[in-house]
């Protein structure tokens, strides 16, 4: 009898959930969806070992080995360090970025062949392409959602999977000037709130490029990651494929000292 009652309660709750979830999904705003995305997938510490493949219109390929360090600071802003490990000619080349909540980010470039000093990158370089790839700097950082408006568009079902479709437009005046995009359109899997596709539209609203995330794996709890990302630039007919070989979310994988200029210029970043 007890069992029957418990079973009945579970069934009732299940029914309630089943009927309430779609309603919940329907009521979510664009911003809420993106908040949920951030909530689930933004991690304070992250290290990725990547293989980066640049493919031109004639299918010529150029491969690089890259390590990407991400760490959230005490002010909730993130710091990023990207280090090239291969090929040998560019080994040690690094880009250090300190995200700022207000104003432009700070960036330093390190080219070991040029000397043991990091060159400060001029401000306002969000839309600069990153080291010959199809990714702009602004594509590689977590975004401050306050600076954008998120308009939810009609959901789409592709190959049996339903997606939220959200249009993200910079609303911050400074950002509008700095961003290379008029808006982006994101496809977010409804079941895991994971962005699987992003279409980028240039400042004139013309389709520019598309990022597609593939081989999506659940890495921890609700957190998912794509093992393979493809940025396909329509205007240049060029592609950048990033394949993640290793991933670490431990804090000690990305210690705070890694995000200093001294760490880089001393050559420790290559160890």
């Amino acid at each position: 009898m007890k069992i029957t009652r418990i079973a009945g309660t579970v069934a009732a709750l299940s029914m309630l959930l089943l009927t309430a979830l779609p309603a919940l999904a329907e009521n979510l705003t664009g911003r809420q969806i993106l908040d949920e995305v951030a909530e689930r997938h933004e991690r304070p510490y992250e290290l990725e070992s990547q293989r980066m493949i640049l493919i031109d219109r004639n299918d010529n390929r150029e491969e690089r080995e890259v390590k990407r360090y991400v760490r959230q600071g005490d002010d909730d802003e993130y710091k990023y360090l990207v280090v090239f490990h291969a090929p040998s000619g560019i080994r040690g080349v690094s880009l250090l970025t300190w995200q700022q909540s207000q104003g432009d980010d700070d960036q330093w470039l390190y080219m070991p062949a040029h000397g043991r000093q990091m060159r400060r990158i001029a401000k306002g370089g969000r839309r600069n392409y990153f080291m010959g790839t199809d990714y702009a700097f602004e594509d590689l950082v977590f975004e401050s959602r306050e600076k954008f408006t998120y308009e939810r568009l009609a959901d789409e079902t592709i190959d049996g999977t339903t997606y939220y479709v959200v249009k993200s437009t910079p609303q911050d005046e400074e950002l509008q000037k700095e961003s290379g995009y008029k808006y982006r359109q994101l496809w977010i899997r409804q079941d895991i709130f994971f962005v699987t596709r992003t279409d980028y539209y240039d400042r004139r609203g013309r389709f520019l490029k598309r990022q597609t995330n593939e081989d999506i794996v659940q890495v921890e709890g609700k957190t998912w990651r794509a093992n393979r990302s493809i940025m396909d630039n329509e205007s240049t007919k060029h592609q950048t494929v990033i394949e993640v070989r290793e991933r670490d979310f431990a804090e000690d994988a990305v210690p705070a000292r890694n995000f200093t200029r001294r760490f880089v210029t001393s050559g420790r970043h290559l160890r």
């Binding site: 031109d56 560019i90 400060r120 001029a122 010959g132 240049t236």
Partner: protein, 882 residues
Amino acid sequence: MIERILTFSSRRRWLALALILLITAVAGKGLLSLRIDTSYDSLFSPKDPGYPLYRQTIEEFGSDSTSVIFIRDSELFTVKKLRRLEDVHYALEDTAGVEKVKSIFNSQNIRDKDGFLVTEPLMDYVPDDPAALGTKRRDAIYNPLLIHNLIAEDGTVMAINVTTEMREGDPDFNRLLFEKIEEQISPLRDDFDEVFQVGPPRLNVEIERGMFADLSFLSPLSTGILILSIILFLRTIMAAGLPMATAGTSVLWTFGIMGFLGLPLNLLTAILPSLVIVIGSTEDTHMLSSYLKGLRDGNRDVAIRYMARHVGLPIFITSLTTAIGFSTNAISEITMIRDFALSTSIAMVMNLISTVLVLPLLLSVIGPRTSKLPTDESEPGGFVGWLIGKFLYLVENHAGKVLAVTAGLLLLLGSQAFNIRVSNDPLSYFKDDNQIIADANTLHERLAGMQLFYLTVQAAPGRDFKDPAELAKLGEVVGFLREQGVYDKVISITDHLSLVNREMNQGDQDYYRLPDSRNMVEQYLLLFQRGDLERYLNPDATAVNVLVRHNLSDSSELGIHLRKLEAELEQVFGNDNRYYLTGKNLMINRAAESLFSGQIHSLALLILIIFVIMSLLYTSVTAGFMSLVPNLIPVFVMFGVMGIFGIPLNPGTATVAVIAVGIAIDDTIHLLSRYNEECRTEPDHMLAVRRAVLAQAVPVISTSIALAAGFGILFISSFNIVAQFGTLAAITMICAMLSDLLVTPILLRHLRLVGLWDIVTLRVGREVLVESELFQNMSTFQIRKTILLSQMREYGVGEAIISEGSLGRDMYLLLDGEVKVERAGQLRDQTGGRRNFWRNRICGRKPAYRFGDHSDTGHRPAFQPGKGGRLHALLSPHSRLS
């Protein structure tokens, strides 16, 4: 047979009309397929050995077909104006057929600013702030990749470079692209000081426009000249319309066949109607002249038969030689010339068919019934008569001097031929006052010339261009190119690397040099996107490409500079690196080099063909050789004029020599033909020459002047090459006329002609051939030739043929009638014996009887026709038979 062919349409009018309509209907169908080709591709040879390499380079480094949009404004860097240009830039990016658009709106800015490294798009949006705009302007001018390429030093001029796809075989591509670009830039013209586009699409469109202007302007003018010349020389207004009908049908039929064969209407074939009208009119003039002379009591049929008999053969032969003249250009390596050669030779054949079908048909229906032309016997009067008199005076009294002066003139002019230069650049086709020339010069002065070629270098085996040593060699060559002072803009990967090196060293100009380590090269390259480098460095860095922009439209001059460059490349790279100079610009210029050899080959081929034809026609190698002499003289003159006046050998002028020979030989044929006729009845060569000149001088002068005028009007063509073609052809026609009236008669005096056609068609009585002991063991051909070498003589009853006691070494052959021998007394033979057998042996002899040969030397009795009426005998002068 020829007489039957030429009179066919006048005898079978309805059948001829049906045939004409049928051909016209079929041609009309072909006309629908006629295409226009004004593309670059027809200006070079697809068989160019560098073509596969060119394709490969294009695949690897992108198309070399670039249109430059030039924008000049004293207030260029204002928000409003730049935003408008930005709109144009992006609209062009979205244009079908555009491969790449490059301007300051999508250029990379790499610059040190107060210790900060700027690596950002130069102006991917137009800032509102005038101060920011000023910074952008300074950054653009500071950038060595952009200065003189996309922006002028003073910032008042900028360019949007539009690289277009390679669409070979699509004749509309360039026109459509030009229109699309024009659609974008036209509205700018109201608000900017100067806006224009230059590049292959505009060139193609300008050529097309000029071509149609020529078609619509020159064709009516040619028609006018045709009508005028016919009225002037044939003194009949009514007949003037007839050649227009033949010319019209010829052009229609030719265009129809061109449509079927896929031969396009191009810069040169566009003058085809004018050529057909002018050249075709010469045949018509000869035919009409003959028709008018043959008019007896207003009887058209008689006149047509007369015309067919007298000019039939020359018309066929001259049409053939003219067609051959045009067709020999078909061995050219340049597609445009080849198409022109095929089209015009087809046109000449069509003109012959049309003339044979249409003219007699029309003459039989609406031909004039009266003529104001003098008869053959009367000498021409007026200025022409005076002129001809002068020519004859020189021929008869100063032959040696005429030949000496001619030879001296030829030597002088021939030596000038060494100064001829070649040119095949499309820009040089336009006249200097054409707006495209002005625009191209403006572009050259303010930014960089529109001409472009690539220098592609492959790294030494096992090396690449990340290696500083390889880059240093490249840098040396790039430095050499800049030192020459003739190349407006040279861009290579060395500029990209030098730029980064400078900016990584706080903008210190001393560091504007190549990095000195491989790692530095690799790391500096990270600052560029692949798209920024793809035109200069291949993905694995084993090959580099140097873009060279210039404004050299003279193939000879460019050739000199390229040879210098090749020597430098040889010195710098030796055998370590392979290097290529590629680009349509170069292939077009290289094709110019083939113009010389093509000209020589075509001319040699034509000379050989004419020599063979004329030798066969007149059964004499001497005649073949002789017919060439007066027609090569104008060619020498033409080359001399080109050398003296700096007229280059280009696809237009390169066709003149063979066309001129092909046309000029016509007058020689007419002269030879007439001389041949005269010789049959006139034993005195000089007199025969005189008669031939008197009979042919008027048509020769009239056709030559008409041709010269017809070609001369091409001088007002929209294109230099057509104008130069026309001028040279006109000069050549006049020279050919002078040569035919002065040199040909002098040469003819020493020549006895026997026409093959005459031999074949000679009707000789069987008994003459069989019974004459003279012809025993001779072939029919030999018999006929012997007969034709003789002169036909007609004697009346009782007329003395040979007088007793006269001396002579000639022989007579009795063709018909009877002769009898009468003598006053007895003759003694050479031995002194008495001989009286002549009377018995000869009297009452019938045809085939031979008499008066050299066995009778010095002791001839008198011969005279017997009582049977008139007698025909062939006089075979000893001089001709020996």
